[in-house]
């Protein structure tokens, strides 16, 4: 009956992307957790991007974000090429801590919803993100990269929640 099951994990030293593949379809939801960063300084507002099944279209993003000492701000990225999962610290280490919940990832009668919470301690910046992938395909793989094009590093964990 225990259901918060580790499906996959990996430690990456330096790579342009990470792919978690062959995701089993027997769970209800997925939880993707990582602590990761960029090997070089990112540009302001850039960070990690997430795509499903290698698809680079149909992602909707609504971001509720705050910077230290600045009021909360909302951002919308419509019909985007990826989920804007986090920004990164602007001082070394250029990192973020991220938890992404993906709802009903295997259902072919639904677009896929995700919620993300991240904290980039050295910017400092944190946000809660609502995202939707306008696609009914079951999610069988997840790709993580840097939308500024830098190499990334980190520890990545994928969990399954369900019966």
């Amino acid at each position: 009956m225990t259901t918060y099951t580790l499906i996959a994990s990996t430690v990456v030293g330096s790579s342009t992307s990470v792919s978690l593949g062959s995701i089993p379809q027997g769970y209800d939801d997925l939880v993707l957790v990582w602590k990761g960063g960029s090997t070089s300084a990112p540009s302001n507002g850039y960070g990690f991007k997430v795509t499903f099944n290698g698809s680079t279209g149909g992602y909707q993003n609504l971001i509720m974000r705050n910077n230290a000492g600045v009021a909360l701000s909302a951002y919308k990225y419509a019909n985007w090429g990826y989920i804007q999962a986090n920004t990164l610290g602007d001082e070394a280490p250029y990192e973020a801590l991220v938890v992404m919940n993906i709802s009903e990832y295997s259902k072919t009668n639904k677009f896929k919803n995700a919620t993300v919470q991240f904290n980039a301690p050295t910017r400092p910046q944190q946000a809660t993100i609502g995202a939707r992938w306008d696609n009914t395909a079951a999610i069988t793989s997840i790709q993580i990269g840097d939308d500024f094009g830098n190499s990334i590093y980190g520890r990545f964990y994928l969990y399954g929640i369900g019966n």
């Binding site: 792919s19 971001i63 919940n101 677009f111 919620t115 009914t136």
Partner: protein, 193 residues
Amino acid sequence: MSFMLLGILNSQATGGGAYTGPAFDHIQTVNTTGNNVQFNNLDALEDYKHLQIRYSGRVGGGVNSVQLRMQMNNDTGSNYSRHWLYAYLAGLGITSSSSINQTDIQLGDLTGTAQPSYIFSSGIVDILDFHSIDKTTNVQIMSTEMRGDLSNGDIRLSGGVYNSANALTSIKIFNTYTTFESGTTFALYGRRG
């Protein structure tokens, strides 16, 4: 160079000497086309300290969205407090609000059948220390509802309080307008103490 993790590393957490608990267990999933869901006999869940409900939902009635609500112990009195912080799409901004002496806790909006058929709303509801008999019951929610064209909707962090020191015996989740559409699911999980 791209790093590819080949295959799946199942159940690594149960490997030799690894940390194995406390557990997070599935208790019950309800798929419904009614207008409410009730989780009963919570007092029998003696092994668990906290509960989590994960939902994916949509409603009929030809509306864009309706509010999803929750009550405890069949208590319909003005015994709930609620507050929200959310980013909204209509006009793109952020706001917060709170109210006391309410008759329910609001969980977030559910997409309606005025929106494309594949769009559902989702949320995660954490109910803390539900067996407690010496304090109120606190709930925290993270939910998202977005229209097909992103003309409206939100990402929302909410909190709620059931102003009773009674242990929880039941939870009702409902909306006051219409029925849930096929594909709507509410899954209850327990965290062991």
